[in-house]
């Protein structure tokens, strides 16, 4: 199972990077999400995939009775999903606003902050 998941992480990350290399902002955004999900899956796999039960401590005991699944990776992923989703929504709105006011979805034409044919530095001094 670990090998399948590891291969899937590889597919997700390479797809994400491929899309990030695009010039279209929306494709980059989707690439970012896929990359983020690949990373989440990686944390999940890194926490060891087992068939053990949920980490619930029975009443009267201080520690669980038998082997349990590791709850920490799930807490890590949950945090990462929430953060990734909020960043995705923000960047989506940002891309939409940029598209409306710059009339550009192509990073090659988004040159307002760094104008093409920038002036030469002055030659005095």
């Amino acid at each position: 199972m670990d090998y399948v998941l590891a291969a899937l992480v590889g597919v997700f990350v390479s797809l994400g990077i491929y899309l990030l290399l695009s010039r279209s902002v929306i494709r980059m955004l989707i690439g970012m999400t896929i990359l983020g999900n690949g990373v989440n899956l990686l944390i999940f796999t890194a926490g060891r995939v087992t068939r053990e039960v949920a980490p619930i401590v029975p009443g009267g005991l201080d520690v669980p009775a038998g082997p349990i699944a590791n709850p920490l990776p799930q807490a890590l992923i949950l945090t990462a999903i929430v953060i990734g989703f909020s960043m995705f929504s923000f960047l989506l709105v940002l891309a939409f606003r940029a598209y409306k006011s710059l009339d550009a979805d192509n990073t090659d034409t988004m040159r307002l902050a760094e104008p093409e044919n920038a002036p030469q530095p002055p030659l005095s001094y």
Partner: protein
């Protein structure tokens, strides 16, 4: 069977230990409170200043405690580390947090320039405090995943600040800033996942214990990923392109805040993760680090020389400073690390001040391109003195603050030169960087302040007409002058700073006291 007292902290945290978490709590709560009162006329500014002053007071007492007792740690939720999330501060963490809070205080006062007639709906002060919370959290945390969370807090607050106003120029800059920084934190998360899979812990002190017995090749891979992620955050060459593309787009106050705080957090994370946590992997990556440092040191000031937009040119100075910090990371003796750390401290204050002075120049001239400026010296001598002092401080000319960390770095480089090419190459690169930065800075100064008038206009002998200063501009000028005065005074009496810096560096190079403070000393891996 685990005994409860072994897993739990059963004594109450002493009241004095709360100084460690208070700066973060105050900034976060202040941010939420100011959001509630954002529409009122005076409350946001007053509240922000009060909160930041309280944060500074906490951090001074924290710093004094660390100076006398050594690193300090506090673990959340009563679970013993490595199960509970630890906050841990040593001299560098607390010192940088203090410098960041001071810089934020000055920026909040300075920002009043642009806030004439602003109804406060943009929640500016709230977001500044959120940014401060993220930065302080990053400096004080003792847990790698927690560091990731603070990075995201910082990122979301800075995105809010960079787009507020919403001009097309800002949106353009924000898209590049947002994408590249989000990618950097995602790579950081990737490294975290691998670390957890390999070591089963994310507590920094715990990683220091178990990393030496882990697979060395895998740890070096993780360290390389961390170097890429934090290098992007710090804007080190070759992943620096987002900085000159975005830092000049928001208002000068926001630019100043970013220049002072954000890249330095990336540099601090590099210092902490590579030198203190994974020293073996750093050693293997040393040639890479040295090449990156040399390239950043040499290329950044060339960018500043080629640039005509004033704030973009200053952005390249920020990148050059990161090169000096990387040079310190390639020379991991106590002297070298002290140089890198004091440089971060210097850069937090000096870069903020430089951007603010540039902002004042833009406000007074109404232009942002150096070709449209000229002859400001006759019109405003104090402004030109501030700019000149800061250029010298950034280039590292004695007796200003930037000189001392560079001197330490040169000393470490000379000491290292016997061991291989790294030391001598870095010494040469540092000197070239100082000369090129001086050329770029004095060229900017000559064009903006010294020549008779803007480019292409006949010299009339009349000083360039300036926008008359409003009371808000005077307040901003006073705030910046106070900060510059502080930088100059620290440069004139650098001994306490250098002494504290060396003690802090000793704790980074040999983190025994740090691990002991977190409570993990003596536990077998």
């Amino acid at each position: 069977m685990i005994q409860l007292p072994q897993a739990m902290i059963e004594t109450a945290t002493s009241a004095a230990d709360w100084v460690l978490v208070l700066p973060i709590v105050l900034a976060l709560m202040g941010s939420a409170a100011l959001l509630v009162v954002r529409r009122s006329n005076r409350l946001p500014l007053l509240g922000a200043v009060l909160v930041i002053v309280a944060v500074i007071a906490c951090e001074i007492s924290l710093l004094l405690r660390i100076v006398s007792e050594g690193p300090l740690s506090m673990t959340m939720g009563k679970w013993l580390p490595p199960f509970g999330i630890s906050l841990a501060a040593d001299l560098f963490g607390a010192g940088f947090a203090l410098a960041a809070a001071v810089a934020t205080l000055v920026v909040v006062l300075y920002a009043e320039i642009d806030r004439e007639g602003n109804d406060g709906r943009d929640g500016f002060h709230s977001m500044v405090l959120l940014l401060l919370a993220g930065v302080t959290g990053s400096f004080l945390t003792g847990d790698l995943f927690n560091l990731y969370v603070w990075f995201e807090v910082m990122l979301i607050a800075s995105l809010g600040l960079i787009v507020s106003g919403g001009s097309p120029l800002q949106l353009d800059g924000a898209v590049k800033y947002g994408f590249l920084n989000f990618l950097a934190t995602t790579l950081f998360l990737l490294a975290l996942g691998l670390t957890y899979g390999l070591l089963g812990t994310l507590n920094m002190a715990d990683i220091m214990r178990v990393a030496p017995v882990a697979n060395r090749a895998a740890m070096t891979g993780i360290a390389a990923l961390l170097l890429l992620a934090f290098g992007m955050k710090a804007a080190a060459f070759p992943v620096n392109a987002w900085l000159p593309a975005s830092y000049h787009t928001p208002t000068p106050a926001v630019s100043a805040l970013f220049a002072g705080l954000l890249t330095k957090v990336g540099a601090y994370a590099l210092l902490r993760s590579l030198v203190a946590i994974l020293p073996d992997s750093r050693e293997m990556l040393e040639p890479v680090l040295a090449v990156l440092a040399i390239a950043t040191l040499v290329i950044a000031p060339l960018g500043a020389i080629a640039e005509t937009h004033l704030r973009r040119a200053v952005g390249f100075f920020v990148i050059g400073g990161i090169g000096a910090i990387l040079a310190g990371l390639s020379l991991p003796s106590v002297i070298g690390i002290a140089g890198a750390g004091i440089y971060i401290f210097h850069a937090i204050l000096a870069m903020t001040a430089l951007y603010m002075v540039v902002g004042l120049v833009e406000v007074r001239t109404g232009a942002s391109d150096t070709r449209q400026m000229g002859g400001l010296y006759a019109a405003s001598a104090p402004l030109s003195i501030l700019f000149f002092v800061l250029v010298l401080a950034v280039a590292g000319v004695p007796p200003f603050l930037g000189f001392w960390p560079k001197l330490l770095l040169l000393e470490a480089g000379v000491a290292d030169a016997e061991l291989g090419w790294v030391g001598s190459a870095l010494v040469v690169a540092l000197v070239i960087n100082a000369i090129l930065t001086l050329i770029a800075g004095t060229r900017l100064w000559s064009h903006v302040f010294w020549r008779n008038g803007p480019e292409g206009q006949p010299a009339s002998g009349e000083p360039m007409p300036l926008v008359a200063p409003t009371p808000r501009v005077r307040l901003a000028f006073g705030a910046v002058s106070a900060l510059v005065l502080g930088v100059v005074l620290m440069g004139l009496w650098p001994n306490p700073l250098i002494e504290v810096g060396q003690r802090a560096a000793a704790d980074i190079v040999d983190p025994g006291r740090y691990v002991q403070a977190v409570g993990l000393a003596g536990v077998e891996p």
